[in-house]
Symmetry: C2
Subunit: 371 residues, 2 copies
């Protein structure tokens, strides 16, 4: 039965996937005599935690009840008072958590605290699912790096566009709507000056383009615009492009040198990152972004940046929208990667999700070996 209630708590946690960043998604269910007496989930940073919502919802029924929480409850005064104290106060006598807090500084401490106060605890119920829903938060807490997703769209022969057309939609509207959903879950969108200058994209979340199911979970007024991060090592991007003159998103430029023109614009920040062989050092860049609480990055770029990330084994997921078209060998490639000499050098992934979206396919791949 623990799995059953934890699954419900995960469903609740899922409701926050578009809004809690940089906080993790958490759901909580209070169960007494095999009945759910209270439910809650975390909505956004600064707001009450999932446990508090559930305890309020349960009221006096919390006495001698079990709390199912998708993440170890906090035990420190942050923006809100510690959940551990509230759990103890409420009379809960058993706490089941899916997974410990990934932050090594606090991991396991709340559990010990609850035990000391006579509360029975259990850890590990649906742990993988709970980690997956917070993959960005977990990776950042454990490694310092954000979770990195590379989104690409191609024909079946691995071409991303026709060289002769400036911008073209390869995939159909279902795929494009799906991209909006990934954007809405990301802390930031990463792109390059080349993509800005060739495609002039907006890179923002457009609520209207989301599918109906997503609109039910995410109201228009709750849309959290991801930060747009542009690698612009040669200070090429000017104010003529859409990301600057049309979107309201904050923009972080990754640079070798400050660009004076943008110093007065409030929504623009310039981050200096060391170089490696003349290029921005991607590893160092991600560490810096991790320190700035970026949990999850969606890369929407051309073959050069995508290829560099693949080659350096920095991608956690590749999201490939594949359109059933053939473009032929003379058009733009998916990934620029220096020549491989042996099959054993090929970058190996596994298909972890395959979905039909309208006429297209969406393939999600993760590295075959842990990186």
């Amino acid at each position: 039965m623990d799995d059953f209630y934890m699954n419900r708590a995960l469903q609740l946690a899922y409701r926050g996937i578009f809004t809690t960043d940089p906080n993790p998604n958490v759901g909580c269910v209070i169960v007494k005599n095999n009945h759910i007496v209270g439910e809650g989930w975390h909505r956004k940073a600064g707001d009450m935690h999932a446990e508090i919502y559930a305890l309020i919802n349960a009221g006096k029924n919390s006495l001698n009840a079990t709390a199912y929480i998708t993440l170890e409850p906090c035990n420190h005064f942050g923006k809100t008072p510690p959940c551990c104290i509230e759990l103890i106060k409420s009379g809960i006598n058993r706490v089941v958590i899916a997974t410990k807090d990934p932050n090594p500084l606090v991991s396991g401490k709340s559990l010990t605290y609850l035990q000391k106060h006579g509360i029975q605890t259990k850890v590990g119920t649906m742990a993988n699912e709970a980690k997956k829903i917070n993959c960005g938060f977990f990776k950042r807490m454990k490694t310092g790096f954000p979770w990195i997703q590379i989104k690409m769209a191609s024909s079946i022969d691995g071409r991303t566009s026709l060289l002769s057309e400036k911008k073209c939609w390869i995939t159909d509207s279902f795929s494009r709507s799906d991209v909006q959903k990934f954007r809405a879950q990301s802390s930031a969108i990463l792109s390059s000056s080349a993509t800005v200058m060739i495609d002039n994209p907006s890179l923002n979340v457009r609520w209207n383009e989301l599918d109906t199911n997503t609109k039910v979970i995410l109201k228009k007024e709750d849309v959290r615009q991801p930060i747009i991060i542009i690698i612009d090592s040669k200070n090429k991007v000017t104010s003529q492009y859409k990301i600057i003159n049309q979107s309201s998103n904050n923009i972080w430029f990754i640079r070798k040198n400050i660009k004076r023109e943008f110093l007065s614009l409030k929504k623009i920040k310039q981050i200096l990152v060391p170089t490696k062989n003349e290029n921005i050092d991607l590893l160092k860049m991600f560490l810096i972004l991790g320190k700035k609480q970026i949990n999850k990055i969606l890369v929407e770029s051309g073959p050069k940046l995508a290829g560099a990330l693949i080659k350096q084994k920095l991608a956690d997921e590749i999201i490939l929208y594949m359109s059933p078209k053939i473009f032929g060998h003379e058009n733009k490639e998916l990934f620029y990667i220096p020549k491989l000499h042996k099959l054993s050098e090929a970058l190996e992934y596994k298909f972890t999700d395959i979905q039909v979206l309208g006429n297209d396919l969406r393939l999600i791949l993760t590295p075959k070996k842990n990186i």
Copy 2:
């Protein structure tokens, strides 16, 4: 109920898919008082037709029974006596067929004949399924052309091999076993001199490599080796290659001029085909092959021949084995196709089948518009 029994007849027809070529696959079920009293299917050319097997199986129970046949029965003396006469003799009083004979010279004639002899008839039950199982036979009878399948294997970025390795297996053993199944169903395998000289493939059916389910249907001694057809316009292929010195398959070379070296080899035939812009005229080649009773061709070649077939809209199906690897932009492409200038010029397909095979994906695509 007609669908139910016809479905059973189709299942029986399916048992012949590896062996009946150049004849179509046919299944027959005899039903009396809602009981199946006889079943049969066509095994191979020269052997009895499905109807005869079923009538023998039913014996006296054929009297006043219904026969379900996946294809209009024959009414001419070929290698076997006409099935229509046997159906009438047996006392069958109703005949349900999935589809008329596609051969315009005989289509519908048997139906009229049966009706004249007082037999009730019905046409069109599960017609699409019945046509699909004989796609090669139907296409050849209606258009003169064989059904053309292009088989390719690639990484997710549309690369077929590493330029620096002479031959490499991109996909894993499940995919390679699956290819054997397609080969075993084909009248012929089409390839080019370039592929023979680079990969030195065998292009034959290797029973041992088939999956267990297929081995149940197809016994080792019943394996029908497809004809190997090699486009070799410059007479480059010598006897040093596997297809000539190792396989027992018949080989047809498509040439501009006869190659004297091969004239004495019994298993080798040389077919002269007119050229178009210096190259073999593919359209004319397929018409010639259709006249030689080639129903179904599996193309296993490199990007040049595959690209030419795609560009000329000659492919009925693309079977793409996709391995979750990335090779990068410097390796060999899937299809060589002259530069496209507009998105509207892209060759459009639809995904008709998507399957996971071990670590790989198998995508089957058919043209979006009828060609």
